[in-house]
Amino acid sequence: MNPRLSHRLLITGLVLLVILTFLLSLFSGPASFGVWESLQALMSDDAGSIALIMHEIRLPRALLGLMVGFTLGLSGAVLQGYLRNPLAEPGLIGVSASASLGAVLALYTGLSVLFPLALPLAALAAAVVSVLVVQFLAGASGSFVTIILAGVAVSTFATAMTSLVLNLSPNPYAALEIMFWMLGSLEDRSFEHVMLAAPAMILGWVMLLGVGRGLDALALGRDTAASMGVNLRQAQFLAIFGTAAAVGAATSVTGSIGFVGLVVPHLLRPWTRSLPSRLLLASGLGGAALILAADVLVRLVAPERGLKLGVVTAVIGAPFFLALVWRSRRQMI
């Protein structure tokens, strides 16, 4: 098939999938009303209970799922392309773990009570600090291995500190908070959360999409990419700080949701002729669809148990990933 046409088909298909899962997300929840009622309520301005639920609970939840999923899919694709490593994901460079730490610190120092913006800001600040540390350790055009090693170190440290803060906390609900920040959830999120996360997330998207073509050249190695006119310092800056902004913002409102950034680029790579630049948008859309679908499942399977989103994304993602590994192993033999 014509390669450009097939790329358009892929993007169109993914957009349709995102729309479908978005609608499903809007229509699922403990209060059950018909599709038509829900849509009417969504469009109307009256203050009925259905309209209230749609506007205040389901719409922000679905929007946030879309944004967080897009962020995770996109940043995973960019990091895998930039680091030339199929195991790279936002968690690997320490952004998610550090953002969680920032959020937990804001909660337990009481800052978030004094000033509600403190929590997401602390999460974002921690994400930025973590990538500054990674950037400092690795150098402005650092080798891929040093970036990954620095990221793993920062990530491990931040996770340990998060646990420490929660251990020391006198709050009996600390365990629940641990679950929230470690496994992620879209429960009880409001439009405030959407608005809080949106600016940094969108800035991050712009930076991440800006790496674009440079990733294709980077497939041939750093030297070749540089000789082809790719500015490696700029690419590293955009990839790492773009991830910090987008994933930091996402984590600041939904906790750290694992696996999506790792799995989605892998699932879609075969449909993008393995060109990293073509994977970015596709992976973002795929991530959005996966998060939205997982969030529907969370509410369908065990609505009263407060199943965590991160658990479901891993449960959905892992079998796909295993099948992929199995297939690639068969190809190698």
């Binding site: 450009r4 790329h7 392309g81 030339r84 490593n85 674009g212 073509r213 294709d216 050249a217 980077l218 497939a219 041939l220 190695g221 030297d223 070749t224 540089a226 000789s227 082809m228 006119g229 790719v230 500015n231 790579r269 002729r273 393995s274 060109l275 990293p276």
Partner: protein
């Protein structure tokens, strides 16, 4: 062109860490030359190639068409110099045709996803020159080492630059494709383009390069025509092997014989 040399090199020193890898190197390379960089392992061939491409910091000066290499912006440089490193790893299973087309990316200014007909012509020509047209749809991870090497050279050819720098392009190729490669370089030379390649095959160097630069321990030992550079005493001194050198059908033939004990 105003009679400027294509490449003017006046390197003082190249450091890797605190170790000096290359000493003073001065040479001018003109359009149309096919220059073989020779020298034992660790002589500084790859370092020199990377310095010429502006990929390494160095003390001294490298001018390409009269402009200092470090003053050129990435795109501008990519329009003048194409580079193929010694390592042939490609991170993703990109098809050979897509990979060669990346060579055109370096020259494209817009984000338009479509290859122009000019781009397509360059890609097809480069693939035919490297005899990889029939591999076009194969992912590079399914190619043999030599096939992949040819695809990567085709990528650089598609960039259509006045200067091509390649690090051991002949290594891993079968005899037919080695000769094919060198003939391609010569025909680039005939078009006024310049190739600088590092190599270990003295026979190929003797037969096909228009000029040889012999490096040893970061210094230029000899620089000139193959006849001038490839002499038994020079080969013995630099490589520590004896060699038989003859002229056959107007071409130079070099056969390496034994290690010399006098190294």
């Amino acid at each position: 062109m105003t009679g400027l040399p294509l490449l003017e090199v006046a390197l003082q020193r190249v450091l890797r860490g605190t170790r000096s890898v290359l000493g003073q190197i001065a040479c001018r390379i003109e359009p149309g030359e096919v220059v073989g960089l020779l020298g034992p392992n660790g002589a500084g061939k790859s370092t020199l190639l990377r310095s010429l491409c502006g990929l390494l910091p160095f003390e001294g000066k490298v001018l390409v068409q009269g402009k200092t290499i470090n003053s050129l912006r990435g795109r501008e440089r990519a329009g003048l110099i194409a580079y193929v490193p010694q390592e042939h790893d490609v991170a993703w299973p990109i098809s050979a045709a897509d990979l060669v087309a990346l060579g055109r990316d370096a020259r494209r200014t817009s984000w338009a996803a479509k290859l122009s007909s000019e781009d397509q012509r360059a890609v097809v020509q480069a693939m035919e020159r490297m005899d990889v047209a029939r591999l076009a749809s194969r992912p590079v991870d399914t190619l043999s080492g030599g096939e992949r090497a040819r695809v990567l050279i085709a990528r650089a050819l598609a960039q259509e630059t006045p200067l091509l720098l390649t690090d051991e392009p002949a290594a891993g190729l079968d005899p037919l494709h080695q000769v094919n490669l060198m003939k391609t370089f010569r025909s680039l030379g005939d078009d006024g383009r310049t190739v600088v390649l590092s190599m270990h095959d003295l026979g190929l160097a003797a037969r096909w390069c228009t000029r040889l630069i012999l490096l040893n321990k970061g210094e230029v030992v000899a620089d000139g025509s193959p006849e001038a550079v490839l002499r038994p005493d020079v080969i013995a001194q630099v490589y520590g092997v004896s060699a038989h050198i003859a002229t056959v059908e107007g071409g130079l033939v070099v056969q390496v014989l034994e290690p010399t004990s006098t190294r």
